[in-house]
Amino acid sequence: MDEKDVSRTAQDSKGGFEPRIMAFVCNWCTYAGADLAGTSRMEYKENVRIVKLPCTGRIDPLFIIKAFENGADGVLVSGCHPGDCHYTTGNYHARRRWIAFRSLMEFVGIDLRRLHFSWVSASEALKWVDLINNVTDEVRKLGPFAEYKGLKQGW
């Protein structure tokens, strides 16, 4: 029922490549930071789609792989700054897990330049804006992540 066109790689008005970015963010810091960018009427690249989670500590590395499989050209993970976690230590778990899974991600064929980690607090709207713009630009340079999208169709 939720079958959709995987070839739906976005294109800009001129027909050039526009990357699709999936962002996994925590509810308390980064989600609120992104909200603040809106309340402050800032502007950033439209390429990002947010998936809200209670805490970055909730993030299963499989989420990231799934995101790539489902058409993401880049993935961003962002939560509270170290020491600021709403759940006291969730972001440390996320960081530790990231260190452990980094090489695995590379092993399964994910170009680590497509994967970004950041800390954005609820007051750092500007940081969020810069982050999205930078990640979008960087992933755009890399081109579409066709290899991984193919995987899903192959199944």
């Binding site: 999936m22 960018a37 502007e43 789609r49 299963d60």
Partner: protein, 657 residues
């Protein structure tokens, strides 16, 4: 097949100006499972909510997506509306197309915003299809409170809770309640006598039928969760039977041995069987065991001989008592920075260099000098006194970067007390900045300078040394760019306020956070200043950071009101966003248990009919779980999931990307 309704809000023009909500609504109708879709000017308005409710009933919706502003704004509003229409509130989800779409993409052709709104709404719809109805969790609440610390903050919290009709257990580690405030002579800026305003409150707490006081006792451990804590309290041996003792004081009178008085900060001696000060509450003495020859060597026993009611019991030992409570207020207060750190100020070597609390004792009419200002070395009335502020505070080299906040005020007060008692005396104050932000505070410091003649010198003191019976202070007055030397008779150091020794240990026992200075962390420094991350544990007073009496009292009352609010119902409803374990598949690796920041995961034993343990599995204590989901990601066998954020839901959203 699901029956989902989709409501796209225009938010006046806030969304509509960059998102074609009609087109989004039409697009969403095509999504499988969506049976109703519309757009509307203000979904959060009363007519908007009515529309939503009617649609639920009319189309028999089993799920609702509202594409509107951030869920942080109106998620509660829409979930409530759904609930009143008979739909489980957790079958309602919000897609954020305002803060994270229309407001940040300024494309007036609406193309960008519409495409993104379509995506965000579709992802939310797919997620919603996997939403299970959830029920708020009800936790029974034990309506007794524990207050740790019997200083002014703790006493205030205890009295307020007791007045609110709930039982309170007040634990104090010293032999009497009263805390640091009991040591003060007068208080700024009103100059009313500290003991005069404090002792009635102490007595009130003692006599209150709903307050049980454990003095000379410490909290050893805390188990459980909000509404259902079990606390273990160590009652240190007093060697005096509290039931029998009448507080006559005969034993103290006759005790032949003396030791340095903690209450008088070493300025005086007390007996080995003692109450810290005459107005002690409870008025029951304790025996200082390490200094008691009877307990150490079996010789003496005078106190036991003179005790009429036979209350002395040399065989007494520490006792552990357990109490069940529903909430905890932590009010453990502060200490002053150990003065040995100030080698350049000669502290510990020069007798006439004392700290602010010691000066309070000298100025107190119940103090070692009966309220006369006499210097410790030879009892002489000092003709000049130098007060040095910011000793240790704001001194990163000594490890404290913060301002101790109350020293500017109490130093001004000290100069006045000194002037009132020694009319011819001259007070000098070395300060860096005068921080007198508070009601009537600025006027107070000005009074010290203008009316009471204190000489304020802007600068810091480099060192203090003795010369010919005088204490020589060498410093700078930066306003005149001069080096300054003062031959004083006494020096008072306004040493930094620091957290209590052992504050970190207690925090670990309670499961609350603390900063690098071991001051306790508020849940949120502005909006939830008396709560901690551990639900049901509240904070009051200077254990959070330096603060003065009015602030401590306010915080004590604030914590009490939080406790009373918690106790207002028999059960407490909690968001059902909690983790759950599929016990049949759990292989008891305990990764979750280690990962959980709240110790919400317990080991559960599974027994067969013969009562033998056949295996173990993890179990989530829903009262403690805060719903962060760290355990879910940690679980190797994928048997824990987080209600409201299940793997299924997240994958569905990803798949709709």
């Amino acid at each position: 097949m699901a029956r989902i309704g989709v409501f796209i809000c225009q938010c006046g023009n806030n969304i509509e100006s960059t998102v074609d909500t009609k087109s989004v609504s039409e697009e969403m109708e095509k999504v499988p499972g969506v049976v109703f879709s519309c757009n509307y000017k203000f979904m959060c308005s009363s007519p908007g909510q009515e529309m939503l409710k009617e649609a639920i009933k009319k189309h028999k919706l089993d799920g609702v997506v509202v594409s509107a502003c951030s869920p942080h704004m109106h998620e509660k509003t829409f979930r409530k509306a759904c609930e009143s229409a008979g739909l489980n509130p957790y079958r309602c989800e919000i897609a954020n197309i305002r803060e994270q779409c229309s407001w940040v993409h300024h494309d007036k052709t609406k193309k960008t915003g519409t495409v993104k709104s379509n995506d965000l709404t579709r992802m939310t719809i797919e997620r919603l299809k996997r939403n299970r109805p959830l029920k708020k969790i009800n936790i029974p609440v034990n309506k007794r409170a524990l207050v740790i610390g019997g200083g002014i903050a703790g006493i205030q919290a205890a009295l307020d809770i007791a007045e609110g009709g709930r039982e309170v257990i007040l634990v104090e580690k010293e032999p009497s309640i009263g805390g640091n405030m009991a040591r003060l002579s007068e208080t700024f800026p009103t100059m009313d006598c500290s003991q005069c305003i404090l002792t009635p409150k102490m007595v009130e707490a003692e006599l209150h039928e709903r307050i049980k006081i454990y003095t000379y006792s410490e909290v050893e451990g805390l188990d459980g969760y909000i509404g259902n804590f079990t606390v273990r309290i160590r009652k240190k041996a007093k060697y005096v039977d509290e039931e029998l003792c009448t507080g006559c004081g005969e034993c103290i009178e006759k005790c032949p041995f003396k030791a340095s008085s903690e209450f008088e900060l070493g300025l005086n001696k007390r007996k080995v069987i003692y109450t810290p000060f005459p107005q002690a509450v409870p008025n029951i003495p304790v025996i200082d065991a390490p200094n008691c020859t009877m307990i150490q060597k079996g010789k003496c026993g005078v106190c036991a001989k003179v005790c009429g009611p036979k209350a002395i019991d040399f065989e007494q030992t520490d006792e552990i008592v357990e109490e069940k409570v529903g909430a905890v207020v932590v009010a453990t207060g502060y200490e002053l920075m150990p003065n040995e750190r100030f080698g350049e100020y000669g502290y510990g070597r020069i007798k006439d260099v004392i700290n602010g609390l010691q000066f309070e004792r000298l100025a107190s009419s119940s103090g070692p000098t009966g309220g006369e200002i006499r210097r410790p070395s030879d009892g002489k009335v000092p003709e000049s006194v130098v007060f040095i502020q910011c000793v240790g505070s704001r001194d990163e080299a000594k490890g404290v970067s913060y301002c101790s906040k109350i020293c500017c005020m109490y130093t001004a007060k000290h100069t006045m007390l000194y002037k009132h008692k020694v009319h011819e005396g001259q007070a000098y104050v070395f300060y860096m900045d005068i921080r007198a932000g508070g009601k009537r505070y600025e006027e107070f410091t000005r009074r010290a300078i203008e009316d009471e003649g204190a000489m304020y010198l802007r600068g810091r003191v480099s060192r203090v040394y003795e010369r010919g019976g005088k204490v020589v202070v060498q410093g700078a007055d930066t306003l005149s760019a001069s080096q300054v030397e003062i031959e004083a008779d006494m020096v008072v150091l306004a040493t930094a306020i620091v957290s209590r020794t052992g504050a970190d240990t207690l925090a670990q026992r309670l499961g609350i956070g603390y900063d690098r200075y071991r001051f306790y962390n508020e849940y949120h420094p502005k909006l939830r200043p008396v709560e901690t991350v551990n639900a049901g544990i509240y904070l009051a007073g200077a254990c959070v950071g330096p603060m003065d009496i009015p602030e401590s009292v306010s915080m004590g009352s604030a914590a009490a009101s939080k406790v009373l609010a918690l106790f207002s119902a028999d059960e407490m409803a909690r968001e059902p966003i909690v983790a759950g374990v599929d016990k049949t598949r759990c292989n008891a690796c305990w990764d979750c248990l280690v990962a959980c920041p709240y110790s919400a995961i317990e080991k559960e034993e599974v027994k067969n009919r013969q009562g033998e343990t056949v295996r173990w599995n993890a179990r989530v204590n829903e009262g403690v779980c805060q719903g962060c989901g760290v355990c879910v990601a940690a679980c190797r066998s994928k048997v824990i999931d987080l209600a409201g954020y299940t793997d299924e839901q997240v994958y569905a959203a990803i798949s709709a990307f």
